[in-house]
């Protein structure tokens, strides 16, 4: 177990280095640079831009810059934002909570609805409901998330006026209800794709279990279908669900980015786009690394949990 863990961690570290190299190269080889956004400031001259670039160390060879950045990172220094010179981790931390709230709510929604639809579809296989759910899931996977967000805003904010079109809360009103009202639409939109994934998954998982001998035995022993379902199906499906949840993290994160742009949600996705726009490389790099670590950790956690829940699986 320990050896497995060490092995996985080692691999993850190599991955992170690779990720950082790709990210750094992409950002820094591109034309422009972090100072170009200031070119149109009244009175700005090339001389000023050159001087500041040198002061910030941006005129050094790329390899040196990378080595410097990486060396600092090893010592826990993620660098400072070019925009407000705050430590990158502080900047990301400030936005992470918002993204987590959105992702968490979306996951709760999608798992709840997805599980229900999946199990119902599997137990009532080939019913109209099942077909509708199957086709619906496919369509849900095909709708562009951002467009679905636009349509939702059009219907629920502009036409019906039920929900706010964006933001996380009303200024001067931080009540729970206020947050909830702002959260519901982006969370539903973000959950859409995941509902499809979860329902398809739960349907398969339920079918797998239903067909196994012990379930048939249980039913033969007179357990009600509902109890069988609860005891065996959900119990057995829980395990792969955890794994799936871990594997869904990158998709969810990508989805959150898309959703945040449409709903002006002040999370990491919004920060990423802003930082890209302002050429705030330290923050962009930080976000890339942060999300990569998040993904790696969630995958690792999924593996470990699986092993923990199911003693039959031995991690070697």
């Amino acid at each position: 177990m320990t050896r497995y863990l060490l092995n996985r961690l080692g691999q993850s570290l190599v991955l992170l280095v690779l990720v950082s190299m790709i990210g750094f190269a992409v950002l820094n080889l591109a034309p422009g640079g972090p100072l170009s956004q200031f070119a149109l400031t009244p009175g700005m001259t090339q001389a000023d831009l050159d001087r500041i670039s040198a002061q910030m160390g941006l005129d050094r060879p790329l390899v040196v810059q990378y080595a410097d950045w990486f060396w600092r990172l090893l010592r826990g220094d993620w660098g400072r934002s070019f925009r407000d010179s705050r430590p990158v981790l502080d900047v990301i931390g400030g936005h992470f909570a918002a993204t987590l709230l959105l992702m968490g709510t979306a996951t709760v929604i999608s798992v709840t609805i997805g599980t229900w639809v999946g199990i119902k579809g599997a137990t009532k296989r080939y019913s109209i409901f099942d077909y509708a759910a199957t086709v619906g899931a496919m369509v849900a996977l095909s709708i562009p998330t951002f467009w679905f967000g636009l349509v939702a805003i059009y219907i629920f904010s502009l036409k019906l006026g039920w929900l706010p079109a964006g933001n996380m809360y009303t200024i001067g009103n931080g009540s729970f209800l206020d947050y909830a009202i702002h959260l519901i639409m982006p969370a539903m939109v973000l959950a859409l794709v995941d509902v499809a994934v979860w329902s398809r998954y739960m349907r398969t998982a339920t079918l797998d279990v239903i067909n196994q001998d012990f379930v048939r035995t249980a039913r033969a022993k007179g357990m009600t279908p509902r109890r069988v379902l609860m005891k065996h199906v959900v119990g057995n499906a829980l395990l792969p669900m955890i794994t799936l949840a871990g594997l869904q993290v990158p998709t969810l994160l990508g989805g959150a980015l898309v959703t945040e742009t449409v709903f002006t949600w002040p999370g990491m996705g919004r920060l990423f786009l802003d930082s890209l726009g302002y050429q705030d490389y330290p923050v962009v790099m930080g976000l890339l690394m942060f999300s990569a670590i998040l993904v790696l950790l969630s995958n690792l956690a999924a593996d470990l949990l699986t092993a923990f829940v199911d003693p039959r699986i031995r991690l070697t």
Partner: protein, 295 residues
């Protein structure tokens, strides 16, 4: 019928609607529907623009923001008074072309890396697959945007960018497939015959992994169309005046209140196209993989 022996399937209820034939029919009907829709969309985009009285680039500021079904413009006009129907069809050419081209490119990249990793295995295989993992552990949309934000956008560049952020699935599938094929008799035989590694990889292994590749490729088209739409929606993708479904949506949020059709129409087109490709991909998967048929 299948190599592995799946658990015996017992329908919970029985009736005409759950016979295997009907299931297949429904499955295939969705796939067939997908094929028909793709053909229709393609035909519309190829021929349609010649039949419409308007040019997709012709600007008529007096007719800006005409709603659909009023006046002469069937689907209305955009903020520059251009005919949306004409733009939608021209945009379809671009969007679907980008989708296809990105699919071909990413499948080529993915298949090559996958077959090399799977065939050689060992250190080369590990390094390559770790690289795949590295790219996968980015939420690809981050990578895609980071690339698109700094590269001069043109349809070709966008295609390339989408391709290099979506080849990993194919690589994984091919690697797994090749790894299992590697030890099979016909490959052993080929080795004994002294065929070159390249020959074995691309003439023996790859054709045998074609099934899963085709499924993955179809789904990649759907994905690529979605990605193009998103990147162009944010303004980093295909640049106007060249229309694409994504860039028609760019700026539509601003006019959501006054001209909602600007947002709704291209979105419907995207959803239609993507759904069609997903139907086809799903149908193909069923047809090619006996096991999944049972789920």
């Amino acid at each position: 019928m299948s190599v592995s022996s799946p658990p015996i399937h017992r329908p919970i209820k029985s009736g005409w609607w759950n016979s295997r034939t009907f299931r297949r029919f429904v499955r295939h009907r969705l796939a067939a529907l997908g094929v028909v829709m793709v053909i229709l969309l393609t035909l519309a985009c190829v021929i349609g623009p010649y039949l419409l009285p308007y040019n997709d680039l012709y600007i008529d500021l007096r007719a800006r923001f005409s709603p659909p079904l009023t006046g002469y413009h069937f689907l209305g006009t955009d903020p520059l008074g251009r005919d949306i129907a004409a733009r939608l069809l021209m945009a379809g050419r671009i969007s679907m072309l980008v989708g296809f081209a990105a699919m071909i490119l990413s499948t080529m990249i993915g298949a090559t890396i996958g077959v090399v990793a799977g065939y050689y295995g060992g250190r080369i295989g590990t390094v390559l697959m770790r690289f795949v993992d590295a790219v996968l552990s980015f939420p690809s949309i981050f990578l895609l945007l980071a690339l698109a934000a700094f590269i001069k956008p043109s349809p070709i560049m966008i295609t390339v960018i989408i391709a290099i952020t979506s080849w990993m699935e194919v690589a994984r599938i091919v690697e797994a497939e090749v790894r299992s094929l590697r030890e099979r008799d016909f490959i052993m035989a080929a080795r004994m015959l002294g065929l070159s590694n390249r020959w074995i990889m691309f003439r023996e292994l790859l054709p045998n992994a074609m099934g899963p590749i085709i499924v993955a490729a179809t789904l990649t088209v759907a994905r690529a169309i979605l990605l193009e739409a998103y990147v162009s929606f944010l303004g980093y993708g295909i640049q106007p005046p060249l229309p694409s479904w994504g860039n028609m949506l760019n700026g539509a949020q601003q006019y959501l209140q006054s001209a909602p059709w600007l947002a709704i129409i291209p979105g419907v087109a995207i959803t239609l196209a993507v759904t069609s490709f997903n139907f086809i991909g799903d149908g193909l998967r069923d047809a090619l993989d006996a096991r999944s048929d049972l789920n």
